[in-house]
């Protein structure tokens, strides 16, 4: 059974809320409008995806054209690592993203650097490497839609998108 179908079963089991974008629980990721199962009520339950997204924080932000983790980014990843060790049923895809101020191909490569920086940090904090994979969306999936720094800062991100069950490749 592949990752997606397992995830869908978990979605069906956990939640009555609609999940329109498949089984990756990616609030800040490429499939942004996927509603986390149990969102709202789940925020107070530390075993839920919603808790991971809202309370732990599912993303870290980067400076312009940089893939170096900030201090607050490291703190977020510390909390993610801790959550992942408490919730071993989950794997994650770390998605790297860039703002629109760059050429398309370069931004894909830059997003790969950001995703890898976050993944490497999680591994350094004890998350098994085979629970994590990376992908870059370059500037193809902006989260904040405007053309100034207020939006760009939110788009330069690495988002840890949880998936239930199955080890990542």
């Amino acid at each position: 059974m592949n990752l997606l179908s397992k995830s869908l079963i978990v979605v069906a089991a956990l939640s009555v809320s609609a999940c329109t974008e498949g089984g990756l629980f990616g609030r800040g990721g490429a499939n942004d409008d996927a509603l986390a199962p149990g969102a709202g009520a789940g925020v107070s339950d530390p075993t839920t995806v919603a808790y991971f997204q809202e309370t732990v924080g599912d993303r870290v932000l980067f400076e312009v054209d940089q893939a170096v983790l900030t201090t607050s980014g490291q703190a977020t990843l510390d909390a993610q690592a801790s959550w992942l060790s408490d919730n071993p049923a989950y794997t994650a895809v770390v998605e790297g993203h860039a703002d629109e101020q760059g050429t398309r191909q370069y931004n894909i490569a830059l997003g790969a650097r950001r995703a890898d920086a976050a993944k490497a940090y999680l591994v350094s904090r004890g998350v098994a490497e085979n629970r994590l994979s990376t992908v870059s969306f370059g500037k193809e999936r902006p989260l904040a839609i405007c053309s100034d720094e207020a939006c760009y800062a939110q788009n330069r991100r690495a988002v840890t998108v949880l998936a239930a069950g199955g080890l990542a490749g």
Binding site: V93, Q105, A112, R113, S147
Partner: protein
Amino acid sequence: MILRLIFFCFMAFAASAAWAQQGPLRIEITEGVIEPLPFAVPDFVAETGDAGQLGRDIARVIAADLTGTGLFRELPASAFISQVTDFGAQVQYADWKAINAQALITGAVATQGDRITVKFRLFDVFSGAPLGDGVQFGGTREGWRRMAHKVADAVYSRITGEGGYFDSRVVFVSESGPKGDRRKRLAIMDYDGANVLYLTGSESIVLAPRFSPNGDRVLYTSYETGSPRVYVLDVGSVNRRVLESGVGTMSFAPRFAPDGSRIVFSVSEGANTDIYEMDISSGQMGRLTNTPAIETAPSYSPDGSQIVFESDRSGNQQLYVMPANGGEPRRISFGEGRYGTPVWSPRGDLIAFTKQSKGRFHIGVMRTDGSEERLLTASFLDESPSWAPNGRVIMFNRETQGAQGRSSLYSVDITGRNLRPVSTPEGGSDPSWGPLQN
């Protein structure tokens, strides 16, 4: 569609070929054209009963092709003194000279079932003589625009001395939906935006299609599997297959070698992105760069001996040239700002690029050693240059600023003049201009 190209020489034209090189009806593009050359193209004469509309349509497409270059100016039919009702009749040069037409294009169209035949002649009005031989094309009725483009290509070539580019196609990414939910699918069209066909759906992100040298296949990047991979698509059948590199986690930025049998592309492994080549039929791979920097956007020289690419090994994006089998690259861009998306001109003389400087994006060209950099455009976001088959014109995409930002296609002459939008049904990005068709 296969077009038959038939040259038929009128006996009276026999001496015209040598004349064409020394006659006054000549545009030297490199010297810069201040005043577009005035021309007339009366409706092509219908030689069969149902060809009237075709004759009018073909003349309109020829006129649009020529005026679209910025080098020609069409004289309106309302100004004509002579009417052309017989393709074989003697041209009344004085009537065309009187309205200051320097070039006159006459033609005729005949239909036979689904087939049409188009013929044309070009005249240098002030010399009172034909310019080159008459030419006849045959094809299908639905391919009539291609025959008009072939006439315009011949006229353009004879007057400028450059190769034409009108009978060509462009593959690009057709974009719909708002910026936060952009849907992308591959599309192919005539160079002027006509005859759009969609090659993929928009379920997955697709990026940066690139034509094969003869236009039969398209390389592109798709997120079909969730992660970017390089695909090759057959334009005729629309069948596609992934090109498995067997290395790295992402493959993107593919481009064909000039012989069409190999590709060059980027592979990301962890944080690192390098350039690889692959033999398409055997899948055999070769690694061309090996540094911790981002190396991407490779493009072959037309003779296949060198590759230009971008790397941030110096600290920010710059352009480099290396031998096609790898080896020590030399940096060619040294100006202020960042340089990316280099594309080697089909003539071999120039490299087009995207430059970011002081918060603006530019399309520019430089010589292959990096000298004589010239910026052709400036906007909030211009990128993805692609060369016309004659190396005179560049198509690219421009994204507008803000939440309502939209990407569309433009073309610009390498002189920096004649910036024009290319009309597409939806938004457009990542154009790849294919070869002149046969």
